[in-house]
């Protein structure tokens, strides 16, 4: 077991800067999810950690041991003892499942086969899979074999590159659970790269968000979701409703009334960030609330997402996520209440109109 520490990692391909100084620490035995949109440099970061790519600058230490420094490689990939699960699984097509899983084991253990069986158990694959060939497996099974192969040599650190992309929802859930179980079972330090917010938030002990080659925030999932470092991040990590307001003390006054503020306190003109599930939609005027009109509605089964416009002159777009959206129709007049506390940002960040649009886009 070992922790991973990256300091000031920089990498450019010609003029194009991919990583512009990344500091990342993954504590021993934990999983950190690296979240970023495509092209944010997350796969490059992973490949630098494992040693397939040499960074222009910066250090990579694994378990306190320096693996690479300032463009020089001290430990080649095969000596870093890092388990790596590639995006597409990359199973060796000429080998059986057992031979794939045993690939990284010393020859004696390979013959013995007990570690191979253990690794298959770890990822929840039946031992009867041992003699199958990779092409006889489904996508989810292939990912599990790839994970078993990475875990079999008991690596100190496991890197997962979009390990669930391309799997359908049900399979994704199962495989995800199997992976988490296996990693926890082995007590392995792990870093997972993904562009899926839900996946990052649900799997990581910590989530590190990579944007334009920089880590903009590294925090526990709840912290990241409730108090993202800036508004762009707020919109990237989830849907956000943004309205202008004036903050004083621990509260902020805005169209939704006076709300309690969490996180960093800013005084004066601010942008108020509200998560769609904080907005309660009511049909009657009894409980007060801000009048709004439904302009769009998406039904997802258990929940519905309502797109609305405030009835005032601003016509601010508001998205709400609700579990009792049944019966709502476009054009309905409703009233909106905000529950819980909200995050605020200095007004320079505030772009309420765009915020509304971004929120709608993210919800669709």
């Amino acid at each position: 077991m070992a922790d991973l520490e990256c300091r000031d990692i920089r990498k450019a391909y010609g003029e194009r800067v991919v990583l512009a100084g990344v500091d990342l620490t993954v504590a021993e035995g934990t999983l950190t999810a690296i979240l970023g949109s495509s092209g944010s440099g997350k796969t490059t970061l992973l490949r630098i950690v494992i040693g397939f790519v040499v960074a222009d600058c910066g250090t990579v230490s694994i378990g306190g041991k320096l693996a690479a420094d300032a463009g020089r490689m001290y430990v080649p990939p095969d000596k870093r003892a890092i388990g790596y699960v590639a995006q597409e699984g990359a199973l060796f097509p000429h080998l059986t499942v057992a031979q794939n899983v045993g690939f990284g084991l010393p020859r004696a253990q390979r013959k013995l086969g007990s570690r191979i069986a253990e690794a298959l158990d770890l990822v929840g694959l039946d031992r009867s899979y041992a003699d199958r060939r990779p092409h006889e497996l489904s996508g989810g099974e292939q990912r599990r074999v790839a994970l078993a192969r990475a875990l079999a040599p008991r690596p100190a650190l496991v890197l997962l590159d979009e390990p669930f992309s391309g799997l359908d929802a049900a399979l994704r859930g199962d495989t995800r659970a199997a992976v988490l179980g296996a990693l926890a079972g082995a007590g392995t330090t792990a870093a997972l790269v993904t562009h899926d917010q839900g996946e990052a938030l649900s799997m990581g002990r910590e989530v590190a968000v990579l944007r334009n080659g920089r880590l903009v925030q590294t925090a526990a999932p709840e912290t990241l979701y409730r108090t993202p470092a800036d508004l762009d991040l707020a919109r990237f990590v989830g849907d956000a409703v943004v309205v202008p307001g004036v903050a004083r003390g621990g509260t902020v006054a805005c169209t939704f009334g006076t709300l309690a503020v969490h996180g960093e306190l800013v005084a004066g003109a601010v942008a108020v960030m509200i998560r769609p599930e904080q907005i309660r939609v009511v049909r009657t005027a009894d409980g007060g609330g801000v009048p709004a009109r439904i302009v769009g509605l998406s039904f997802y089964g258990p929940e519905s997402v309502l797109q609305m416009e405030l009835a005032d002159a601003s016509a601010t777009a508001v998205t709400a996520r609700t579990f009792d959206g049944t019966g709502a129709e476009t054009g309905d007049e409703v009233r909106l209440l905000v529950e819980g506390t909200v995050a605020t940002y200095r007004a320079a960040d505030a772009k309420p109109d765009e915020g509304g649009e971004a929120a709608t886009a993210a919800a669709s």
Partner: protein, 506 residues
């Protein structure tokens, strides 16, 4: 990279020696050799043959590849073997077969025909591999955008085949320019003939070397011209996720015409040499056969020697080609491009000149190699290494780099990863490369004649000495063994070329 450099230097050695030889001969010799009008005429002959035969090769190669790979042709695998077979039949056998057809086939028509119908399988093999690598989704998209089947072929499929077609045509042109063996039976004289005459009559090596300047220049221009033409076309497939197998089109009403055309191609390319062989056996009088019977005692030793030379040359050829083939699909860049192009330099010299250069090299600096078996197999290996590079490249291009990376992450070093993952996957490609170098060595005449150790004889030399003295009955058994080996080679080639050890268990 170091291994690439060594391989490139070895392959370039004959060219360097030739240039030095020519310089030693002085400019007056060189000038008179190059300046003679007959040289220019003969050079033009070579260029004309290449110019006519190469486009025919391209059309035949692409057409056969399309119908064999992508349509429901009855007897598909058999057709594939028959289409590849002409490449494996020794060119000098084909040459005598065409000459036997009649005087009208002993001139330009014969020369261009032999090149076109013997070398189109090069284009076939490369295009067939490219076709297998095409994503069927692209053709479907073409159809969905309103293109007809024909339109899809010309606007979607053909453009993607371009690198393969150019690559194949390049090999054909280069080969045609310096070809000698394929014309031995004809009365048609080409550039290589001129070189041969210089060498035979005056025993003027520097004159022969000076003449080679022309072919060296042409070769270098073509090599780098093609590299530019190909530009950034990528041989490595960048695929993510499972790629569906390309669908085969039903031929329907066109089945009969397509089979008729394919049959005609096979009749010309395989039928002519095999037919000649049958006729030689049939027409030889019993007396001739019995007198030839004495020759049969030579058959087994000749076969063994040929196979021995072929096998050793093939292994050497692979060793030379492997580093460059790997480098070219893994690390692209100007240095690698130059090294890879260097591997084709054996086409810059008529075989004879290359062989003489090596003999010269051995006699001056490496005397222990002079007249030895080692020098011969080495010469054959560097002569045919371009084909090994092409075959290996076609296979290595299909092996995803992520597999090697996975092996690295599991603790295998660079060499161990190559040994445990890449090589096993590339086995079919290695077999294809071995078979190519083996059969070309078997079918080589010029180099063998120059460098063969004095006490040895091969199938090729025995065939040649008998058929040039019109002792066809005596020559026939040697040709029969050569053609039998050629057919076996064709089978191995078509099933292995450019394939990766399959995902599907067969």
């Amino acid at each position: 990279m170091g291994a690439c450099l060594v391989a490139a230097l070895l392959v370039a050695a004959p060219v360097v020696v030739t240039v030095v030889q020519a310089a030693q001969g002085g400019f007056s010799v060189a000038g008179s050799a190059i300046g003679s009008t007959s040289t220019l005429t003969l050079l033009l002959h070579s260029i004309e043959v290449a110019a006519v035969a190469t486009p025919i090769c391209a059309v035949l190669g692409v057409g056969t590849a399309w119908f064999v790979e992508r349509t429901t042709l009855p007897g598909g695998r058999l057709w594939a073997v028959l289409v590849v077979a002409p490449l494996t039949i020794p060119p000098f056998v084909t040459s005598y077969a065409w000459a036997n057809l009649g005087p009208s086939f002993q001139g330009f028509v014969g020369a261009a025909g032999i090149i076109a119908f013997s070398y189109y399988p090069i284009v076939f093999l490369l295009v067939a591999v490219a076709l297998r690598g095409l994503d069927p989704a692209l053709e479907e998209t073409g159809r969905s955008l309103g293109l007809s089947g024909r339109g899809t072929f010309f606007r979607v499929v053909l453009p993607q085949l371009r690198p393969a077609i150019y690559g194949g045509m390049l090999l054909v042109v280069l080969d045609a320019l310096v070809e000698f063996d394929a014309f031995v039976g004809l009365k048609f004289q080409t550039f290589s003939f001129d070189v041969y005459a210089q060498y035979q009559l005056g025993f003027s090596t520097s004159g022969a070397a000076a003449l080679s300047f022309a072919s060296i220049a042409l070769c270098v221009i073509l090599l780098f011209g093609e590299a530019r033409l190909r530009g950034h076309a990528n041989y490595t497939r960048v695929s993510q996720g499972a790629r569906r197998l390309a669908a085969r089109y039903t031929l329907g009403r066109s089945t009969v015409p397509v089979i008729a055309v394919l049959a005609a191609v096979v009749a010309i390319s395989v039928g002519i040499p095999v037919g000649m062989l049958v006729r030689w056996f049939a027409e030889s009088s019993n007396a001739a056969l019995s007198s030839a019977g004495g020759n049969l005692s030579y058959l087994l030793p000749a076969t063994l020697t040929s196979v021995e030379i072929g096998v050793v040359a093939a292994v050497l050829g692979i060793l030379l080609a492997l580093p460059v083939a790997v480098a070219v699909v893994r690390h692209r860049g100007p240095v690698v491009t130059v090294l890879e192009r260097t591997m084709y330099l054996s086409f810059a010299l008529p075989d004879l000149v290359g062989a003489i250069a090596l003999a010269y090299l051995a006699s001056h600096w490496l005397h222990f190699l002079y007249g030895s078996f080692v020098l011969l197999v080495f010469a054959e290996a560097i002569l045919f290494v371009p084909f090994a590079v092409v075959a290996l490249r076609a296979t290595f291009g299909q092996i995803e780099p992520s597999l090697e990376e996975s092996a690295r992450s599991l603790g295998s070093g660079q060499l161990a990863s190559f040994w445990r993952v890449t090589l096993p996957l590339a086995r079919p490609g290695l077999v294809a490369a071995l078979v190519l170098v083996f059969t070309f060595t078997l079918g080589d005449l010029s180099t063998t004649q120059v460098l063969l150790p004095v006490n040895l004889y091969t199938l090729g030399t025995e065939f040649y000495s008998n058929s040039s003295t019109v002792a066809f009955a005596a020559a026939a058994p040697f040709a029969a063994v050569l053609i039998a080996l050629a057919m076996a080679a064709a089978y191995l080639l078509m099933s292995r070329f450019g394939t990766v050890r399959a995902l599907a268990s067969r």
